[in-house]
Amino acid sequence: MSVLRPRTLSARYARTAYLFLLPAILFFAAFFYLPIGNVVSTSLMTGPQADRFTGLGNYAQALADPSVRHSFLVTVAFAVAVVAGSIVLGLALALALDRPLRGRVAFRMMLLVPYLTSVAIVGLLWRNILDPELGVLNRSLSAVGLPEQQWLNTHPLLTIAAITLWQSAGYTMVLFLAGLQGIPETFHEAAKIDGADGWHRFWRITLPLLAPTTLFVSVMAVISGLQAFGQAYIITNGGPGDATDLSVFHIFNVAFRARDFGYASAQSVLLLVVIVAFTLIQLRAGRRGEVQY
């Protein structure tokens, strides 16, 4: 039996590292890569039992299907709203709570609570608040003489995006707070001595140095925006009509209502490709924009 010892120290470190990684690799293989492989193979099948081979037929059908295209556009619009809102709202809250305010820890906790709450509870809560006839919001609006609203009917996509933002704002705030606290105070002091006002310091120091955080927030928001499901499932059921037919919700319906697992799998694979592509583009663009002082 040959005794094989890594010849170099780095090789020995590498071997040890791989051994430590092995459980995680096995876990991911069993619960992520094998199911993904299964989805890819199912995407080549058709029929209610997904037992007839159809090759790339499901992919061709998905690319030509207006309802798939519609749900993708709805999802992109939702993701754009969530990404833009996450960055603006998260940063604004972080800037506000980065100051020495009384009770800022309590404020931070309050803002984080919705993120810790399940999307099902958040969805039901807002559905009740926004109910046009019996909801608290319209009762309050009419009590102060303002016109009642039908936001879930008139702007359903924007409404569920706003609810998503309400839920996730605390999390992005925490990320931006960590980023803000990583910016050395000396940069701001130097800029003050040079006569820069608060606005200039924000644009020239804070924002550029927050680029890695902004990149992380935007990548995570795009991924979660493109994968959003609970909002459509709990709050609007994809409606009215197909106004909030987000991609994952659409795929879920194809699989579990229309019973076409092959077609649903093909759409899942296409969505995965889109998410990976978006992420890579964002990472490339984001890294190019990073600055060092």
């Binding site: 069993a30 006839e133 019996l134 409606g239 106004a243 579990f256 209502r257 019973r259």
Partner: protein, 421 residues
Amino acid sequence: MSPHLSRRDLLRLASAAATVPLLSACAGAPPAPGAEPGTFTVYWNAGHDYQAYRKVIAEFEQANKVTVTFQKYQWPDLRTRLLADFASGVVPDVVEEPGGWVQEFALSGNARSLQEYVDRDGAAMGFPADWQAVTVERNSYQGQVYGVQLHLTCTLLFYNKGMLDAAGVQPPTTWEELLEAARKLTKDDVYGIALNQDHTYANPWLLQAGVRHYDPGTKEVLTPRDKAVEAMRFQADLVHRHKVAPVPVSGTDYSGPQKLFSAGRAAMIITGPWDLGPIKETSPDIELGLAAPLKKDGQATNAAGTSLLVPAKAARPDLSWDFIKRITALEVERAATEEVGMLMPRVSWAELPEVGNDPLIKPFADALGYAQDSSQEIRLTGQSGRFDEELKKMYQSVVIQNRPAEEAIEALAETAKGFLK
């Protein structure tokens, strides 16, 4: 032996570890809960857990020396779970379904034919002779029985007697009378009528206009088309033109109209027996009246309600059948009606004195005699799931978003052509 791992040892270790999940994946699914000795798995709707059924389950357990695992779900979750079970081969022993799945799963080979049991025990239990004809038809496929109806429901017009009396309005019997009544009843914070966001509530209107979901002869959907347009436009007009109904809000909850009715914000709603309990509980002061289904080209209402099926891979179909026989017995139907007011499919149930004497059950029992199943033909195409999705989009775009009915129905028909070839 060297304490150090050789490259070969490392490879062996890694290969062995890598094969663990692979082998476990290939090893097949764990045994079905229902297949475990001594247990019997039933999937049930969360809202149908009645004491009358609990009693039957206890008797079944004692008689068969098994423990019943009674798993309760909302319908969408039950369907998701069941389809996953079909894929894995791990199936329950008996499933309650919301109407329509029996034929769908018979068609796909996932439901078991119960014909041999019906041939053996049918006469003794009164099946199919004692079941309303529509319930036998909707649970059969290619001449074989695949399911047994558990509940048979339909929708009627619920009205607030106090509000109608105050406005000097008689319960409407036609669409025109309904509009007239709704106009008189709409004032301040009260709507004359409230429509549901759930598209299945369009079925009575479509049936009253003589519309079928699908005509297998012509392969047309929502036919005759002009009548379908008229029915959809009438509902949209109640909301947007006459403003006698609030705009429904899309969601998974179909209790919106009942909540408005209970809150005294709607004078009339069209719904089924499932809303009797919530109205009584939340608003005992409301004097509830029930009117017969409306008339347009004909008087009609939709037959709905749940059935029981046995998955094709169920391990002990004899036990499953015994469970079905026990839980559909007339005395159990009587007990469930007494407990919660649920409506039942047996002809002899409709003739029970307690049914005939109950002012809140008799109108339903009368209507069940001519209730129709509007979606049977589409189910037999195997495309009912996709059609249902498209019907939902059409209904909501017309009734909620006020899209012209002609345009929305035309769009549905175009899409349906793609999957009903």
